[in-house]
Symmetry: C2
Subunit: 138 residues, 2 copies
DNA sequence: TTAAATGCAAATAATTTGCAGCATA
DNA sequence: TATGCTGCAAATTATTTGCATTTAA
């Protein structure tokens, strides 16, 4: 999804778009790397030199309110952002720090302890060693 | 578990103990409130007025290394600490901010996508509205 | 033209670090 | 006594905010 496509996508959702917003959304959607604000500034700063930290934070909060990105609190204590809103879990490799998306979720309807609770979201982080790093170990 | 019992518990695990460490561990173990460093300082400061933030952070890192507490990255972006090491999930009520422990977990052995991955830990956060707050709504 | 978004810089908040003094083995 | 812990203060890092300027409808 390039910048033009990102603009259309956002506008179709009734979300007011600017160049910065489209660039940021396009980046998030393409890279799927669950970046922090700092990572985004580093990468996008090459393309848009005046892009500021404040705009990234503002835009992420704006996108979150609009429901087009989710915020992940990962075990580095930092906020990571994700344009994939399907319910999925994240596997963090302790060796290479890659974050893998996996499309498994808890069936909260079937959990007794959640009876009479209203569930809005679930966030699942798993960590360990990924397939690639295990291969290299040998 | 009072301070004396906490001391014994930690020493049985070969962990060097001080008064501060025992007070902190006892607090965590009793209150089961998943506090942040700041919450601990507020509560424990009444009992141990000289207790410092640095000691709390140092102690939590020390306990984590020793494997007697786990760190939870909750959706407020803060680190919360938990002396309950059994694999369990956390439900955060968006109304009253209570964190509930629930003893359900993912059976990671049964997840295809995790084949050839080595799993160390899983962290599950669910949020929504708790039973009590739903009752009050009516 | 006007309301809202951006970008800079300063402010705040959480966490970490350096180091002097203190406590414990 | 020696090693390592504590507590203070300063430093660092992430995030937020205030405000002047720019942008887009």
């Amino acid at each position: 999804m390039n910048v033009t496509e990102a603009t259309k996508y956002l506008e179709n959702k009734g979300i007011k778009t600017t160049y910065q917003r489209a660039v940021i959304f396009s980046y998030l959607n393409n890279k799927k790397n669950h970046p922090t604000a700092d990572m985004m500034l580093n990468d996008l700063g090459k393309k848009v030199p005046t892009l500021s930290r404040a705009t990234i934070y503002n835009t992420m909060e704006f996108f979150r309110e609009k429901g087009v990105v989710q915020v992940l609190n990962m075990d580095d204590g930092l906020r990571h952002y994700d344009a994939d809103l399907s319910t999925h879990l994240h596997f963090h490799c302790n060796k290479c720090d890659t974050i893998y998306d996996m499309y498994t979720q808890l069936d909260t309807d079937k959990i007794d302890e959640l009876k009479d609770f209203e569930v809005h979201n679930q966030f699942i982080n798993i960590n360990g060693i990924c397939k690639n790093c295990k291969k290299k170990e040998k």
